[in-house]
């Protein structure tokens, strides 16, 4: 009897595992297909090339050129990542290779807390601190007038949000490098810095790529915090002090409000599709890089 029950439980749980797995695999497919289905309308009317590369944004006339939004998204993402990368790399190297283990133990919960702060709070903080800083100090430095609501403000807020996220992954990555490798390098007469550069970082390369790959996807999709500081003005930004209008902000600002305009609904679904495809593409690239690197090392 007991045996039968155990057997039943076994089969039951393995069935559950299969069902859950099935859903996990199915979910991205379903989301992609439904977005594609919804954007068919605008795709058929305006054509893919027009939608992606035109800068004409006149929803009332049925013209939806996403180029300014795509560019804004790329600018903000790249800027955010450019600011974050050196900070994360040096902090992770310092914390795992140079500082005392006590400082690392103290810093880890601090980083976790930073990573857990809701993005709307980063947005508020951005409006209070970053936007005025950009408008009053940074832009005049270059002789440019800016309200402060700009690509740069978006990139800065984004970089602050990315730091705890990427740093956490990097610390784990560097911690898994075996001590024996560093010892081997040091006993050949390498300095500590040479050892870090040529052995620790090299050994961690796949992990570093995946940390920044994940960060990239996150940055590209980040909505609220960026939306609050980036200005949300349609148009091609000429410099990082100009306002921008990234894709997630476009969707969040307009979905449900502008649906009286024909095709707007479908156009926004298309924006979501672009977002999804780009993020998947980033993931694919970093996965590819990881596989290549793991074969090499």
């Amino acid at each position: 009897m007991a045996l039968k029950l155990r057997k039943f439980k076994d089969q039951f749980s393995s069935l559950w595992i299969k069902i859950s797995l099935f859903f996990v695999v199915l979910l991205p497919v379903v989301i992609t297909l439904s977005l594609l289905y919804k954007s068919m309308f605008v795709l058929e009317t305006n054509g893919l090339k027009e939608l992606l590369f035109s800068s004409v944004w006149r929803p009332l006339a049925g013209q939806f050129g996403f180029w300014p939004f795509i560019i804004s998204s790329l600018w903000v993402t790249i800027l955010g990542l450019l600011i974050t990368t050196p900070i994360c790399m040096f902090s992770a190297i310092f914390l795992t290779q140079y500082s005392s283990s006590r400082l690392l133990r103290f810093m880890q919960p601090v980083i976790d807390i930073l990573a857990g702060i809701p993005s709307v709070i980063y947005g508020v903080w951005g409006i209070l601190i970053i936007v005025p800083m950009v408008g009053r100090y940074l832009a005049p430095l270059f002789g440019i007038e800016s309200t402060g609501f700009s690509i740069l403000a978006g990139g800065l807020v984004l970089s602050v949000m990315l730091i705890p996220f990427i740093l956490n992954v990097l610390i784990e990555v560097f911690k898994t490098v075996p001590v024996e490798l560093s010892e081997a390098s040091l006993s050949l007469g390498a300095t500590k810095w040479q050892t870090i550069k040529f052995v620790v970082v090299r050994k961690s390369f796949a992990g570093i790529i995946s940390a920044f790959g994940l960060g990239l996807s996150r940055a590209f999709g980040e909505t609220i915090a960026v939306l609050m500081v980036v200005g949300n003005v349609v148009g091609l930004p000429k410099s990082i002090f100009d306002p921008g209008y990234p894709l997630p902000a476009l969707i969040a600002n307009n979905y449900g409000e502008m649906l009286s305009i024909p095709m707007y609904d479908s156009a926004l679904m298309f924006a979501a599709l672009i977002l999804l495809v780009v993020v998947m593409f980033f993931n694919f690239l970093s996965r590819l890089a990881i596989i290549r690197l793991e074969k090499k090392a």
Binding site: E180, L181, A184, S187, F198
Partner: protein, 252 residues
């Protein structure tokens, strides 16, 4: 008064509150193979890492005493620690090939020491791979990652990598314990040959191996040196009761 190539004098080492090495005094003779024997946990690895000052990477370590290398105290010196480490190649228990190609594993140490350019590096890489009898096995795949080699080949690669920076001393911490018997005997033979040009210090807990290749034996127990002496004397006429017990296999 220093007699050996390396003279360890009144060496004490603590990890935090734990007293790991207790008043260690050893004279390591030049151009001979010294074997350090002792049950596991007695401080052999720690002693090796103290010799090339890798132990300083541990946060809680406290060291007292002197280690003379050619009449220079390498523990208490202003000299650059990398200079000291360069003089002692280290072979660890599990081979640790660097995350790069076979070629670059050897070239790494050469480049660190200022030799660059493929034309200068290639003949040197070949020379050191030949010295450990690895050249014929790897000459067609120098660009492969070193981790693709078998464990035994990796250990020989690590030995060659150490030789390439021209050390005077080779430290080896149970270098054959992770290897299959054939690779182990290859590495062991190489050690016997290297004695001509280097001073060798090797940790093992295989008594038969010690007897086969050692010239000088140091026996440690719980952080203390119990007895040391030439191999024949040590095995045939041990002076201390603890040594006799150990040789009978009492601690295994």
């Amino acid at each position: 008064m220093q007699q050996g190539k390396i003279s360890i004098q009144n060496l004490d080492l603590h990890f935090g509150k734990h007293h790991i090495l207790k008043n260690v005094n050893i004279e390591i003779p030049e151009n001979q193979l010294t074997v350090i024997l002792g049950p596991s946990g007695c401080g052999k690895t720690t002693l090796m890492k103290t010799l090339n000052r890798l132990v300083e990477l541990e946060e809680t370590v406290k060291i007292n005493g002197k280690i003379f290398l050619d009449n220079e105290d390498i523990l208490n010196t202003d000299k650059d620690v990398t200079e000291i480490r360069k003089k002692m190649g280290l072979l660890s228990q599990r081979p640790a090939p660097l995350p790069m190609s076979i070629f670059n594993n050897i070239a790494y140490g050469l480049r660190i020491n200022g030799i660059s350019g493929r034309r200068k590096l290639a003949p040197l890489v070949e020379k050191y791979l030949r010295q450990v009898n690895l050249w014929d096995e790897v000459k067609d795949r120098l660009k492969d990652p070193a981790t693709r080699l078998s464990i035994g080949q990796q250990q020989r690669l690590c030995l060659a990598r150490g030789l390439a920076v021209n050390p005077e001393i080779i430290l080896a911490d149970e270098p054959t314990s992770a290897l299959d018997p054939l690779s182990a005997s290859i590495v062991e033979k190489q050690f016997a040959e290297l004695k001509k040009d280097y001073t060798l210090v090797m940790v093992t807990h295989v008594l038969r191996q010690a007897r086969r290749i050692a010239d000088y034996v140091v026996f440690m127990y719980l952080g203390e040196v119990i007895e040391q002496g030439p191999v024949k004397e040590f095995f045939e006429n041990p002076k201390m009761e603890k040594t006799r017990e150990y040789l009978k296999g009492a601690f295994n």
